[in-house]
Amino acid sequence: MKRAVVTVAVMAALAACSSSGGGAKGSGKLSGSITVDAAASLTEAFTALKASFEKAYPGTTVTLNFGASSELATQIQQGKAADVFASASTKNMTQLGASAGAPVDFAKNRAEIAVPPANPGKIAAVADLAKPGLKVALCDPAVPCGVVARQVLANAKVSVTPAASLADVKSTLAAVESGEVDAGVVYVTDVRAAGNKVKGIEIPDAVNASTTYPIGTLKDAKNPSLARAWVDYVRSAVGQKVLQADGFALP
């Protein structure tokens, strides 16, 4: 049903374009498409926002590209075409320097331990991650979730040698989901998104760590007005509601 509405809207937009001899430029009406590069932990929230954004602005298309923030920042620096970058840490946004125009913080995330539903490692607290013989997956220290995880371990004075050091938070979550590791340190939002495929072990505020998510349009954006609209949408009441429903906190 929703799809049908969108299809009709797209067809109407296409018809308008062809009859006017191309281009709705100058009318102030948003059109065209943008590519949004976003941290892997934003997968669920941004996928939901894309659907409502495209509905709110008929005729527009948002292409989402998720990955480790560090990897995406590197790709953008190497010339990958994108209109918006949403990073899971300030560090990776700062890395872009002047090529990201005036980034603003839009969300915050905290760490949580994810274990397979049966909890084979019998984990109840951060200290349990140091149990001998336990397989623990962490994100690589180069990516934001790896930084947060190591901060938590340092706060709790726990030393963990990870069995796997993975490229982004969704890979770490997948290692837990597959049952190949006994535990992984991911974000609160990932545990929530995984539903009953993993079990969450909450980390007390005293030892937990958080990361701030900045979003910004890119200097080389092909569609700056639509890029700006996406950033505004994410920061709007609608956007913040979706993010909070997924477990994100306000910045």
């Binding site: 560090s70 397989k135 069995a163 796997a164 050091s165 993975l166 490229a167 290692a175």
Partner: protein, 271 residues
């Protein structure tokens, strides 16, 4: 040598082939040269120290040599079986054995999880025997590299077994040598050059293996982080440091090519 080149020239160079050939050379040579140009030579020692290159190189060498040894141990008898036995279904076996040659290695990683993972079809028996699970351990990356690299050895050696002179084996048999003795003392020496070539190809493939190793190994520093998987980590963090990590692998490639030049490239070039 020079005579061979003159003979090959024939009726002159067709101009048509020159531009594509030049572009082809550039396409292959420029990126390799760029690695050397972009390597921050002055910071090389610091990068190798700071990024754990020596540890990753050690893991790479140990795992690839283990995988190569395993491949020789299993692959040479397998090659003989494929070349010499006449059994129904052997063609099917050959196809199965060569599948990893054309399969993207990352799918090999997925396949290994399905086979030997904690929840894989052989996961429980493996846990019963070893008392632990294989994924995200050093043996797992040896298995991953063996899965990807052994077929190179098998097909190289199989061809040699096929064309080896059987007259010598028959002579040994008439002199009363046992079958196993003939295999070890006569057949193996006959195909020794092919075994050497297959071993080098297999090792080079194992050393460069990335996809399956990354997936089943988990890229953990000190145990499963090989040089190729370290390159991914470093590139994602600071791309400027990454070219420096290509040097040891380029050096290995040059050594391998140097070794192969006599045993392989020359016969091919002169045929």
């Amino acid at each position: 040598m020079t005579a061979g080149r003159r003979r090959g020239t024939g009726p002159g160079t067709p101009l048509l082939v020159v531009p594509p050939a030049v572009i082809g050379v550039l396409l292959l040579a420029v990126p390799t040269a760029a690695i050397l140009i972009r390597t921050p030579w002055s910071r090389l020692g610091a990068i190798y120290q700071h990024r754990g290159v020596w540890t990753a190189l050690r893991v790479s060498l140990e795992s690839s040599l283990d995988a190569t040894a395993l491949s020789v141990l299993l692959g040479v008898p397998l090659a003989w079986t494929l070349a010499r036995l006449r059994l129904p279904g052997l063609g099917m076996v050959r196809a199965l054995v060569t599948v990893p040659l054309v399969l993207p290695p990352v799918i090999g990683g997925v396949a290994l999880f399905a086979a030997i993972g904690r929840n894989g079809i052989a996961g429980r028996p493996i846990h019963a025997v070893l008392g632990s699970d294989l994924p995200f351990t050093f043996p797992a990356i040896v298995l991953a590299q063996t899965f990807v690299a052994m077929p190179f050895l098998v097909i190289t050696v199989e061809g040699a077994f096929r064309i080896a002179d059987r007259g010598v084996e028959e002579a040994a048999a008439t002199l009363g040598a046992s079958r196993s003795r003939i295999f070890v003392r006569v057949t193996l020496p006959l195909v020794a050059p092919a075994i050497l070539l297959g071993t080098i190809l297999c090792w080079a493939r194992a050393l460069g293996e990335f996809g399956a190793t990354l997936l089943v190994g988990g890229n953990a520093p000190g145990t499963t982080r090989t040089l190729p998987t370290l390159v991914l980590t470093v590139f994602n963090d600071n791309p400027a440091d990454a070219p420096a990590l290509g040097l040891p692998l380029i050096a290995v490639a040059l050594v391998v090519l140097g070794t192969l030049r006599d045993s392989w490239l020359r016969p091919l070039a002169s045929s």
